[in-house]
C-alpha cells in the first residue's frame, strides 16, 4: 500500500527528504529467508508526522521499528531515514542519532544510578563536549517535565517517570525522529498519560516526527495517522478516524475498536441514529443529540 503525504501545515518541499521511507522492504529473521517478518512494505512518513502503528502480536511492528534505526537491515528493498540508506554500515551511527528509540520496559533502559548520569549516557557516547552535555541534560529533562528529579535515583521513580527519563535520554542526542515501541504498555493510566503528554508536546512544539507502536486503540486516536500491520504487511493506512470507521476490516486483523467506538457501532446497528464517535465525550454528545430529536 503506497501512501505519500506531508505533515499537516507543512509546505510541500521537494528538497526535504522524508523522515522515513520504506521501498518494497522485506525482512526475515531466518537464514533461509523462508518467512518474512516484514513482507513487502512501502511507506513514507513525512517530517513532523505523528504516526501510530497498530497490529497483533507478531504482525511485524517491532521489526518495522528496528529497521528504521538500522538495528536491523532489510533482507530486500531499501529503508532510508532523512535520505540516508540504513544498509550502509557507515551511516548507521548517523541514522541512530537521528532516529531515537524508546522500548517497552522502563526497568531495562536505565544505565546509571543518578538521573542526570543516565540522561548523559547518550551524548557522552557520541562525543558531545562536556560543557554542552550539561545544557542538553537541562533541556531534555525540562522537555519531559522531570527537571526536579535531576539528582534522583531512577530505581525510586514510578514507571511513568522512568519512561520519561528514558525519553529524555533519547532527546539528549537531539534526534529528529522518535520511535516508541510499546513504551506505554507497562505503565499505569497516570504514567501513560504523562508519556502521551510528553510525546504530544514534542510533536506539536518541536516538530518531532513520532512513530508510536501501541496496543491501546485510544492512544492511536491522538495521532495524525494510523497504520495497521498484519502478517508483515501494511494493510491499512489513514487517519485514526478513517481506520476505526472500518470496524469489520479491523476485526479481520484481530484488532478491536476503542471502547467508545464499539458502543457507538452497537447503537448504530440497533438502529439508533448516532454519528460516528470514538471517545466518551463525542459518544455522549451523539447520544444526546439523538435522544433530543427522538
Amino acid at each position: 500500500m503506497e501512501s505519500i503525504r506531508s505533515a499537516p501545515g507543512q509546505t510541500a518541499d521537494e528538497a526535504a527528504p522524508a523522515a522515513v521511507r520504506f521501498e518494497n522492504v522485506k525482512y526475515s529473521y531466518e537464514e533461509d529467508e523462508g518467512s518474512f517478518a516484514v513482507n513487502g512494505v512501502s511507506l513514507t512518513i513525512g517530517q513532523g508526522e505523528f504516526v501510530a502503528v497498530l497490529g497483533r502480536n507478531g504482525s511485524g511492528k517491532s521489526t518495522l521499528a528496528k529497521l528504521i534505526n538500522a538495528l536491523l537491515r532489510p533482507t530486500e528493498g531499501r529503508v532510508t531515514v532523512l535520505g540516508q540508506d540504513t544498509a550502509d554500515p557507515k551511516l548507521a551511527f548517523e541514522i541512530r542519532k537521528n532516529a531515537g528509540m524508546v522500548f517497552q520496559n522502563p526497568d531495562n533502559q536505565t544505565v546509571a544510578s543518578v538521573v542526570e548520569d543516565d540522561v548523559a549516557f547518550g551524548p557522552e557516547n557520541i562525543g558531545v563536549p562536556r560543557e554542552e552535555i550539561g545544557e542538553r541534560i537541562t533541556a531534555a529533562l525540562q522537555a519531559v517535565g522531570m527537571s526536579d528529579f535531576r539528582f534522583a535515583t531512577p530505581s525510586r521513580l514510578s514507571g511513568g517517570q522512568k519512561q520519561r527519563i528514558a525519553i529524555a535520554g533519547v532527546l539528549a542526542i537531539r534526534p529528529r525522529i522518535m520511535i516508541l515501541d510499546e513504551s506505554t504498555a507497562m505503565l499505569d493510566p497516570k504514567g501513560r498519560r504523562e508519556v502521551m503528554d510528553v510525546i504530544q508536546k514534542l510533536n506539536k512544539e518541536q516538530g518531532m516526527t513520532v512513530i508510536l507502536i501501541t496496543h491501546f486503540m485510544e492512544e492511536a486516536l491522538e495521532a495524525d495517522r494510523a497504520i495497521v500491520m498484519h502478517r508483515g504487511e501494511v494493510v491499512m493506512d489513514g487517519t485514526p478516524e478513517e481506520i476505526f470507521a472500518r470496524a469489520e476490516e479491523l476485526e479481520t486483523y484481530n484488532l478491536t475498536l476503542p471502547r467508545a467506538a464499539y458502543i457507538c457501532k452497537c447503537l448504530q446497528e440497533a438502529g439508533m441514529p448516532v454519528g460516528n464517535a470514538f471517545c466518551a465525550e463525542a459518544l455522549a454528545e451523539e447520544i444526546c443529540r439523538s435522544l433530543q430529536k427522538g
Partner: protein
C-alpha cells in the same frame, strides 16, 4: 475460602530513613466464589495487600484470615496456605525457567506435594495445561521460550493452578497483551472461575476490565480501602474516583455527561447493558428523558 482483613497495617523498611507505611488499616472481606477486582493507582497499597494473602509479605499489624488459616498465628501452616492461594505476578512469563513446559508447570506441584508419583504429576500437568487451553501433547516437551507471548503467559498460569488453589490472585493478568489476547485471557479466567478455582482476585488498572468482569471490587487509596462494592456502586462515584486520581469506564464517563444533559441511564456499566439502556431511552421505554423534564 473467605478472606477477612481487619485493620491491616504494613511498613516497608521499618526503623530506617526509607520507612514508608504501605498499609494504614485495611478492612476488607472477600467472599468465597467472587470474581473480585482490586483497583488503585501505583503506591496505593494494593500489591502489598495481595501479597499478604499467601504470606509472601508476613503479617505485622492487624488481623488476616484466609479460610481456616489465621495469618496472625505463629503456627500457621504456610506451605499448605500457599498451595491453596495461588499468586500470578505481573508478566508471569518472565518467571518461566525450566527447559520444558512440562518441568516448568510441574515445579510448583513437586514442591507442594513431596513424594507425588510421576503418573499423578503427569496427569495433573496435563489437566492444568488443558484448563489454560494448551495441548499437552503439543507443548509439554517444548521449551517455553519457543512459544508466543500469549502462550507463555498461559504456561505460567498453568504452573500456578496446577496445585488446584481455591483462591487465584492475578496481578494485572492482561497487561501488555494485544486486544484479542486480552479478551482471550479474561475468557480463560472466567472458565477457571467457579470450576477450578472458587475465588478469583484480579488487580487491574483497567476500569473497563473491572466493570465487565468483576462481581465486586475494592478501591485502594493511600493504604486503605476507600470504596468497596459492585462495579455499579463504585463507578457511580465518578467524582470521588477522580479525586483519588482514578478514571471511570467509558460507559460511566458517558453516563455522567448524559446525566448533565438530563438523561439518566441506570446501567451496571458493562457495554452490553449500557447499549441496552440507551436504546430503551431512545425507544421511549426507559422514561429517563421524561423524568428529567
Amino acid at each position: 475460602m473467605q478472606i477477612v482483613a481487619k485493620g491491616l497495617t504494613y511498613v516497608y523498611n521499618p526503623k530506617s530513613p526509607f520507612a514508608t507505611q504501605a498499609l494504614k488499616g485495611v478492612d476488607l472481606t472477600i467472599e468465597e466464589g467472587e470474581f473480585f477486582g482490586i483497583i488503585g493507582h501505583t503506591g496505593s497499597g494494593k500489591s502489598t495487600f495481595v501479597q499478604h494473602l499467601n504470606a509472601l509479605v508476613r503479617l505485622t499489624g492487624g488481623q488476616l484470615r484466609v479460610g481456616e488459616y489465621d495469618l496472625s498465628e505463629k503456627k500457621c501452616k504456610l506451605l499448605e496456605l500457599r498451595s491453596k492461594v495461588g499468586m500470578v505476578f505481573q508478566y508471569p512469563e518472565y518467571q518461566l525457567f525450566a527447559e520444558t513446559v512440562y518441568k516448568d508447570v510441574a515445579f510448583g506441584l513437586k514442591n507442594f506435594r513431596k513424594g507425588i508419583s510421576e503418573e499423578e504429576m503427569q496427569a495433573a500437568v496435563r489437566e492444568a495445561l488443558a484448563v489454560v487451553g494448551l495441548s499437552y501433547d503439543e507443548v509439554a516437551e517444548r521449551s517455553p521460550f519457543e512459544l508466543s507471548g500469549g502462550q507463555r503467559r498461559r504456561v505460567a498460569i498453568a504452573g500456578v493452578i496446577v496445585t488446584k488453589p481455591e483462591v487465584l490472585i492475578l496481578d494485572e493478568p492482561a497487561a501488555g497483551l494485544d486486544p484479542l489476547g486480552k479478551k482471550e485471557l479474561m475468557d480463560l479466567l472466567h472458565s477457571i472461575h467457579g470450576q477450578w478455582c472458587k475465588t478469583i482476585v484480579i488487580v487491574s488498572h483497567d476500569m473497563d476490565e473491572i466493570a465487565e468482569n468483576c462481581t465486586r471490587a475494592a478501591v485502594f487509596s493511600e493504604g486503605k480501602v476507600a470504596l468497596c462494592g459492585t462495579p455499579q456502586e463504585i463507578f457511580a462515584q465518578g467524582e470521588r474516583l477522580a479525586a483519588m486520581g482514578l478514571d471511570v469506564p467509558v460507559t460511566a464517563k458517558c453516563a455522567q455527561i448524559l446525566q448533565r444533559h438530563g438523561f439518566s441511564v441506570r446501567t451496571d456499566f458493562t457495554c452490553t447493558d449500557f447499549v441496552q439502556k440507551v436504546l430503551a431511552l431512545y425507544r421511549g421505554e426507559g422514561g429517563g428523558a421524561e423524568d428529567a423534564q
